[in-house]
Amino acid sequence: MSDRAGILARLRAVAVEATPLPELAGDWTTSTDPAAWFGDVLASVGGDCRAVADHRALAAGVEQLCRKLAATRVVSEVDGVAGALGAGEGGGSVAPSEVQLAIVRGEWAVAENAAVWVSDAMVTERATLFLSEHVALVVDRERLLSNMHEAYERIDVAACRFGAFISGPSKTADIEQALVIGAHGPRSLTVFLVG
């Protein structure tokens, strides 16, 4: 018998009491001001939330961020942001490991845990999200949700080969429980909420 057949046969040989798959609909916590909630949680996980009114304000905000980080090797995957800065278009000219700041569009943001959904469809090179020194995610305010149930209701996770909820910069507390931001991945994460 193959390992596969053996495993399945052993599982089927055991009579386990049948229980229904529970309904997930519920009265889950929401907020009337998810943007404030999102900003607070993001700050608590080491990130930074900037609310900007429109795309022009976004471009100005990104420019400011570049100055603050002294970032010159900037890759933008957000329309209307790269050109203004003269940065590498679509990640083409800078190798992912050389990028100082990557600007990527997030499709959804979740207030309860400051997670932003980013998928393959939003980046040319997946590695950019993890190799860049700093990452900025751009999300439309109307795509801000309260909790993870709302998020999984809207996202078709199987539509892309890769999709991730990103909540704050990369971090570790493996040495004596001391929180250190910037473990392997980005050392900072800024989320621009547009609108």
Binding site: I7, V14, E112
Partner: protein, 453 residues
């Protein structure tokens, strides 16, 4: 060696033992704050337990569905009966592609299977990339905790290790600078790797996708850079629907470290463009666990570590005192399930306080299982003779009220006249603490006095 013998060694360094206890309690307190901040916490735990119960009842069907869907996305699915088969499969994949440099992110399953030494013996370089795991790997030690692998080490010890292994300056003990040194060292490994091996936190039956959760982003670097990704999962990692992930991602990190979610929760459906994804589904004793009704629930474990952090015995005896891949309350029920003779002392590494079951996000009845193991071990003659004698004596006394009263009276008299005597009888228990004062009159006597008034 038994748990008490190994724990004895750990507590010899009293200062370290107390520090270990405090570090874990700090994590437990963070978990409490995160859990209490969510009004629907208990509802989530109930849902998680119900989903896992449903998974157990339909696991064969879900696994087949998962396999079919994963294949549609272009993943190659392998099945392994045991650790040896798992290691062989991984080795074959690597060997046939001439891979010699592998980066790994945290996976308790590959730890359980002994994959690292297996591959190293065959000449491969296997680098654990989770910082805590890398630290214990460089020390040639196993992880002492399932989420915080190096929780037993002081920063000075990490500094000495890095000085020796990575050439950092002597005397360095600042966690930020040590982490920076590890970042540089591991960056090179990531860029040079030809394959990435990861564990799997959740495998979604309806979509054929896998979900991997990390804070460091190491699993993502390890799978975004090399063209080959091998994901190893136990059969129990299945969740039926993508929507179920909402329940588990809300529970996992809050239970583990008190974070609202891990920094990266990555969903992979098939290989990345031009790459390969192999998923190895492993039994290694899990179907046997499924067959034992009293212990079946432990298959629902999502490896959050909350039961370790809260356990008064784990906190004070350290992960290595369990001599098992998974320590703490969950390890104490999984261990004897795997090898009852070898792990016979583990169900006794428990005060039956029940705190583990209270914090467990999937509501596994850990304390009840540990209690149940004790009777199983006695029945099968595997518990220590001393424990059996003591239990028989206790049972005799408990079953005869007069005898019980006489013995209790004797104990009170002895305790009053010769305080050292009771401590001698209780030996280990009073090494670092005193017995509470024993009242001179029993409850029954005091009640009778009240009745007279």
């Amino acid at each position: 060696m038994s748990h008490p013998e190994l724990a004895n060694r750990f507590v010899e360094d009293g200062e370290r033992a107390q520090w270990h206890d405090r570090s874990l309690w700090y994590v437990r307190a963070k978990r409490d704050r995160a859990a209490h901040a969510i009004p629907e916490w208990e509802r989530l735990r109930e849902l998680a337990a119900a989903i896992k119960a449903n998974v157990r009842a339909n696991l064969a069907d879900y696994l087949e569905r998962f396999e079919a869907e994963a294949r549609k996305h272009g993943a190659v699915v392998h099945w392994a009966e045991d650790a040896a088969a798992h290691n062989q499969i991984v080795w074959e994949i690597l060997r046939s592609r001439s891979v010699t440099r592998v980066v790994k992110s945290k996976s308790m399953l590959t730890e359980e299977c002994g994959l690292n030494p297996f591959l190293e013996q065959r000449g491969l370089e296997v680098v654990d990339t989770d910082l805590g795991e890398r630290i214990v790997q460089l020390r040639d030690e196993p992880p002492s905790h399932i989420v915080l692998p190096a929780i037993h080490l002081r920063k000075e010890e990490v500094g000495e290790l890095f000085e020796r292994e990575l050439g950092t300056e002597p005397g360095l003990s600042d966690p930020a600078r040590l982490t920076e040194a590890a970042r540089e060292h591991l960056r090179e490994k990531f860029l040079a790797a030809q394959a990435g091996i990861t564990g799997v936190n959740f495998a979604v039956a309806e979509t054929g996708g896998i979900v991997v959760c990390t804070n460091e982003g190491n699993a993502d670097l390890g799978t975004a850079l090399p063209p080959l990704h091998i994901a190893c999962m136990g059969i129990e990692k299945i969740v039926p629907r993508a929507a179920d992930l909402a329940v588990f991602t809300r529970l996992l990190a809050r239970s583990a470290t008190g974070q609202p979610i891990t920094a990266y929760t990555s969903h992979m459906h098939g290989p990345r463009a031009g790459g390969e994804l192999h998923i190895v589904i492993v039994d290694n004793g899990r179907t046997g666990m499924m067959a034992r009704e009293s212990y079946r629930q432990s298959l629902g474990c999502i490896r959050c570590g909350a039961c370790l952090n809260t356990c008064p015995v784990y906190r004070r005896s350290g992960g290595y005192s369990y001599e098992a891949v998974i320590p703490g309350p969950i390890g104490s029920t999984l261990g004897p399930g795997r090898d009852p003779a070898r792990h016979a002392s583990l169900p006794y590494a428990c005060t039956l306080c029940g705190s583990c079951a209270d914090v467990c996000p999937v509501k596994i009845d850990l304390d009840r299982q540990l209690f149940h193991w004790r009777s199983d071990l006695v029945t099968s003659g595997l518990s220590s003779p001393r424990k059996r004698r003591a239990s028989r004596l206790a049972s005799l006394i408990m079953r005869h009220p007069r005898l019980y009263r006489a013995v209790a009276k004797l104990a009170r008299v002895v305790a009053a006249r010769a305080p050292g005597a009771t401590s001698a009888v209780l030996s280990g228990w009073t090494v670092s603490r005193d017995l509470p004062e024993i009242p001179q009159r029993s409850f029954r006597e005091q009640l009778e006095d009240l009745g007279d008034e």
